[in-house]
């Protein structure tokens, strides 16, 4: 699943006080040559401190950002542009019935503790994700695993209970951990290009280049993640050179000071975070397709995006972000058209409009979006009552109890269109055909077949206005111009530090 757990403290009120700050100009602008310092320390600024260091024990978004690919590696990795590549798996074979995967492990891989990687460690790590007490976000996806065999030290044979074309992709989330490691919430034993140096809670997490790494050594000697609770403090750190790069800007307010300064580069990448006006498709009046279409057509998404993000971000017409393989441009479906909205409402018997309550999480951008939606829908006769709730209340009231009419929520993950195939999901979209397509897609023999089926799902849910997808967030990475090789898309909150080169 895929909903962002934004901590309340991450956005302090201080950010709303727009102070125009002039960044310091004119420090060393050495644009010459491709030389970089192999022993540099890269200082990374982030708002997401890990809760603990174990991604099967509720480590949160921060632990993925800091440790995925840097300290821990999977059999596969998800690259910054959304491709799945082999990592600790040197090769793999799938049986004809699609149920048995045989992985050959890369030779000469050692854990940071010095122990050699064996098939036992892979088995242990997979079982850890699907264990009863696992808090992994991928537990549900990987429960198709029926059995794991280890015929020899370099071979792992996994049997599935049903076909799963996403299996290999899902494995990119599974850290391969030393089966004998202890205290993984506070220490680590992975195979990545860095080993954990020190984690100072509330402040920073540092990692140093691992000399025994099996692959290409990291392009810098040390990477330090510095954690901030407040976006202004984070931007100040970048402006004063305390950090070299910011993993993701949360508002466009501070960008001007960096955009007009040649010492910095502002990268506008593709995120996978979508802002949704999610209807309860099982609650009146949103049981009626025409009402959902009318609401979608009555809201000017472009204007909303402009007011929240300035010139950044993209419009989307479905749950599918451009980095998913089954993306197609569906912005024309139920596009902004107030006249059509009124017509649809009249057809549905709501010519005089109606009232509904919008459960709105209390952190940005939800309150802004709610106010905007309220004013837009007033123009077609719909009265919106904004009900502000905390993330906890949202989780209990909306997500667990389905006790809502409509809500706002950001969904961060890639490939999460498939939730429309689950009629028990919180938004209650129930279309037998779509459910079947999603199932068939998962059991498809080829990715081409899977892509084709999921495109159908995307189109059908868009036409049905299953939800209103307001916009796609931008992924903005701002870096000092001395830096190169950093990821710009940050898919699934990953931030690979090992390719970052820093000029001295």
């Amino acid at each position: 699943m895929s909903i962002k757990k934004t901590s309340l403290y991450a956005t302090a009120t201080a950010t709303t006080l727009a102070l125009t700050l002039t960044a310091c100009g004119g420090s060393g602008n050495s644009a010459s040559g491709g030389h970089y310092d192999k022993n540099a320390t890269v200082e990374i600024g982030s708002l997401y401190e890990p809760q603990n260091l174990d991604n099967t024990a509720g480590g949160g978004q921060g632990v993925t950002e800091a440790l995925n690919g840097n300290v821990y590696e999977g059999l596969f990795k998800l690259t910054d542009d959304g491709k799945t590549e082999k990592l600790l798996a040197q090769d793999y074979k799938v049986s004809d019935d699609g149920l048995t995967y045989t992985f050959t492990l890369r030779d000469g891989v050692t854990f940071h503790s010095g122990k050699k990687l064996t098939s036992e460690d892979v088995k242990y790590s997979l079982e850890k994700v699907i264990a009863d007490d696992s808090q992994s976000a991928r537990k549900a996806n990987l429960e198709v695993i029926k059995s794991i065999a280890t015929p020899d030290a370099r071979t792992v044979k996994v049997t599935l209970s049903q076909k799963s074309i996403s299996f290999v992709y899902n494995l990119s989330y599974v850290w391969i951990t030393n089966s004998q490691a202890k205290n993984l919430k506070t220490t680590e034993d992975g195979t990545g290009p860095y080993r954990l140096d020190k984690w100072t809670r509330g402040s920073a997490l540092s990692m140093t280049r691992y000399a025994g790494y099996w692959g290409k050594a990291a392009a810098n000697a040390k990477a330090v993640f510095h954690y901030y609770k407040d976006a202004t403090a984070l931007n100040n750190a970048l402006a004063t050179g305390a950090v070299d790069v910011v993993t993701g800007e949360q508002s466009p307010d501070a960008l001007d000071q960096f955009k007009n300064n040649q010492n910095y580069k502002v990268n506008d990448g593709d995120s996978t975070t979508k802002l949704l006006l999610a209807f309860n498709d099982k609650a009146k009046p949103f049981t009626d397709v025409r009402v959902r279409q009318a609401v979608s057509a009555a809201i000017d998404d472009k204007k909303l995006l402009e007011s929240v993000w300035g010139g950044y971000g993209k419009l989307i017409g479905s749950m599918v972000p451009p980095t998913d393989p089954w993306y197609e441009d569906l912005t024309k479906v139920n596009a902004y058209d107030p006249a059509r909205a009124k017509k649809l409402l009249a057809e549905a018997g709501y010519g005089k409009g109606f009232d509904f309550t919008l459960d709105t999480p209390n952190y940005d951008p939800h309150p802004t979006a709610a106010t905007f939606i309220k004013s837009q829908l007033a123009k077609v006769g719909i009265t919106v009552k904004i009900n502000t709730i905390t993330p906890d209340e949202w989780y209990t009231k909306v997500y667990k109890n389905h006790d809502f009419t409509a809500t706002l929520q950001e969904h961060v993950n890639d490939r999460d269109l498939v939730w429309y195939g689950n009629p028990d999901f919180y938004w209650g979209y129930d279309n037998k055909q779509v459910t079947r397509w999603v199932q068939q897609a998962e059991e498809a023999a080829t990715t081409a077949e899977q892509t084709e089926l999921l495109k159908k799902v995307g189109r059908k849910t868009a036409e049905d206005a299953a939800s209103d997808w307001l916009y796609l967030y931008p992924q903005i990475v701002v870096a000092n111009s001395k830096l190169s090789g950093y990821p710009v898309n940050g898919l699934n909150s990953q931030f690979f530090a090992y390719d970052i080169k820093k000029k001295s």
């Binding site: 901590s7 102070l19 310091c24 808090q135 537990k139 506070t186």
Partner: protein, 321 residues
């Protein structure tokens, strides 16, 4: 005096015990489940139940409470639900930031406020006396985070003299860096605190200036300085000290704002994170230590007042009650 001390100490222990019950219960009354913070949003009921069991929040409340008290009695603040790290050492490492920050800022504020407040009272009819009063009035209206942002803009972003925030990862083992990162936060707190202190010092001084005993002392031939030194200072400092105690305590607790503006890993930011994550042991631990600190500060202020003012001694410990 011994009887007073014993009574005061008993009061401290009882307050602490009451406070610990209140904070334990209040925390449990808050909406939300700590297991939610641990699990990903899509967690199924089994995952949530497993999380509850792992942190012990599935046990009955009295059992959780006695468990916590038992730990406290042996000097253990428990283990964080979220990070699995012991709370005690983390509180200690956070105090390494918050205590120097608060104490230095407090000392600085007193050093600014006492002379300034005195001058504002004694020279209230001159232009600079009036200016001092005016500036202190203005200073009270300034929000801490706003002043912080201004100082950052001037001294860190524009001048580049000091860091805009953060604290060295190795803490005080890099003393120069640690001190540099505390300069602006200390200044922020000290300026805001001294603004309100100036007013108290000023009004306390005014009271003394208009008092009969000072006039009598002057009439008996003391110079203004002598009279002030021997009779005025003592009398003026009694109300100021009780305010100082309150100011120090509220600065300690209010450091969260400054810590957030300057990204300092202090006690306040630990509390804020703990609350957001429903990490009961962390919240309880921080609040317990803060309560203890506030009670101790109150105790100290009381004690100092009694030493300064013999009238208080007579009234409370003389067995009159």
């Amino acid at each position: 005096m011994t009887r007073y001390l014993l009574r005061r100490l008993a009061f401290l222990v009882v307050s602490l015990a009451l406070a610990s019950i209140v904070l334990f219960v209040l925390l449990r009354l808050l909406p939300g489940d700590p297991a939610n913070a641990l699990t990903s949003v899509g967690a199924d009921p089994e995952q949530i139940a497993a999380a509850r069991h792992a942190i012990g929040s599935d046990k009955p409340l009295p059992e959780q409470f006695t468990h916590w008290l038992g730990q406290l009695a042996s000097g253990d603040l428990g283990t964080s639900f979220v990070s699995s790290l012991p709370v005690g050492p983390e509180v200690a490492s956070r105090l390494n930031v918050t205590v120097p920050l608060t104490l230095i800022a407090f000392t600085l504020a007193v050093l600014i406020a006492v002379p300034a407040g005195f001058v504002a009272a004694h020279k209230r009819h001159t232009w600079y006396g009036a200016l001092l009063s005016g500036v202190s009035q203005l200073g009270i209206a300034v929000p801490v985070f706003w002043l912080g942002m201004i100082l950052i803009a001037v001294f860190a972003l524009n001048a580049g003299w000091l860091p805009a925030g953060g604290f060295p990862q190795d803490g005080w083992s890099e003393p120069a860096e640690a001190i540099r990162s505390l300069v602006l936060p200390v200044l922020t707190i000290a300026l805001v605190m001294s603004a309100s202190l100036i007013r108290y010092v000023r009004s306390a001084t005014l009271d003394v200036l208009g008092s009969d005993h000072l006039r009598t002392a002057r009439a008996l031939g003391s110079s203004f300085g002598q009279a002030m030194w021997r009779h005025g200072l003592r009398n003026a400092s009694v109300p100021v000290i009780s305010v100082l105690g309150i100011e120090l305590a509220s600065t300690l607790l209010g450091a969260v704002v400054v810590e957030s503006v300057y990204a300092l890993p202090g006690l306040g930011s630990m509390l804020a994170t703990g609350i957001a994550q429903h990490d009961y042991p962390v919240v309880q631990g921080v609040l317990f230590v803060s309560t203890l600190a506030v009670l101790l500060i109150g105790f100290a202020a009381d004690l100092v007042q009694r030493i300064i003012d013999p009238r208080l001694r007579g009234r409370l410990s003389g067995g009159a009650r």
